[in-house]
């Protein structure tokens, strides 16, 4: 487990979402409370957005 850097609020349910010290912009994390996928918009200062919905052409 990465040491927790900070825990910004989930934009949906306001729960604290712990981010590791290795957090990166555009990284996808999950809210521990509401389970929504969130995108790290900024690390310093820490800001979260709702992650984009899956689109039809997504994949590998």
């Amino acid at each position: 487990m990465q040491e927790t850097l900070i825990a910004p609020e989930c934009p949906e349910c306001d729960a604290a979402v712990p981010l590791g010290t290795d957090a990166r912009v555009s990284e996808i994390v999950e809210c521990p409370e509401c389970r929504l996928e969130l995108e790290i918009e900024s690390v310093q200062p820490p800001r979260l957005l709702l992650a984009p919905e899956v689109e039809e052409d997504w994949g590998e």
Binding site: S26, E39, E60
Partner: protein
Amino acid sequence: MSSAAARIGVLASRVRFEEKNILTALERRGVACEQIDPRALSVQAGTSWNGPQTVLNREVGHYRALYAASALESAGVTVLNSAAATAVCGDKWQTSAALVARGLPTPETILALTPDAALEALEDLGYPAVIKPLVGSWGRLVTRVTDRAMGEAVLEHLAALPSPQSHIVYVQREIAKADRDIRVLVVGGRAVGATYRRSEDWRTNVARGAISERCPLEADLTTLAVAAADTVGACVAGVDLLEEPDGRLTVLEVNDRVEFRGLQSTYGTHLDVAETIAALMSEKAEAES
């Protein structure tokens, strides 16, 4: 989102397990690298690009991946995989046609240019057969058609969809597989790892809950996977193989922006996929400088 200092870019709007580990592996190697978010990317044709000259394409959206690769290549950037490889891998028909042209085994496939013609194709192939969207992944909208009545119903739905591409129908013989397929990871012309993917669902996509187990890298499997990746021009590829009832291997598809979380967890410390990809990228960047 570009910097003249970074030598390698990782093109990705979503930084998942794979992208994060590749960026970390590049940093560990001391390579100046950066994430390039295609949502903020625009490139003028024919002009030089002020960002990294070697870019790994990890964009999750097929069309954004394809056009970003094409745009960056027009600006002189080396993109892995190339736009040409993404165009072939991202379209199931292009992949089938390339595999057949190379003489590699792949399930019999018919491209029907209208839903009506697809009904005849289903009759020719026999049931059960599989209808797949030309573009798509994770097993989405892949439909197993068990008889003519079901075929008629599915095709009626396709005919009602608004996109012209939906009316071009990819029909494939179903391989009566046990409960698994094989994913082979090819990096730089070498098969570096393979997993069985087991599922009770007839689609064995990890995205649909399939379980990964380590698969021995035997010669027939690695030779076929490397040939398939080469056929579509992919330096980094996830090649999906199926076993025919008589044991022969056949190539189902090649993934150009391969997800490898399942394979990595299967291998544990015996293989570092992100590091293997980072090493290839470093080599390419070195060759470009």
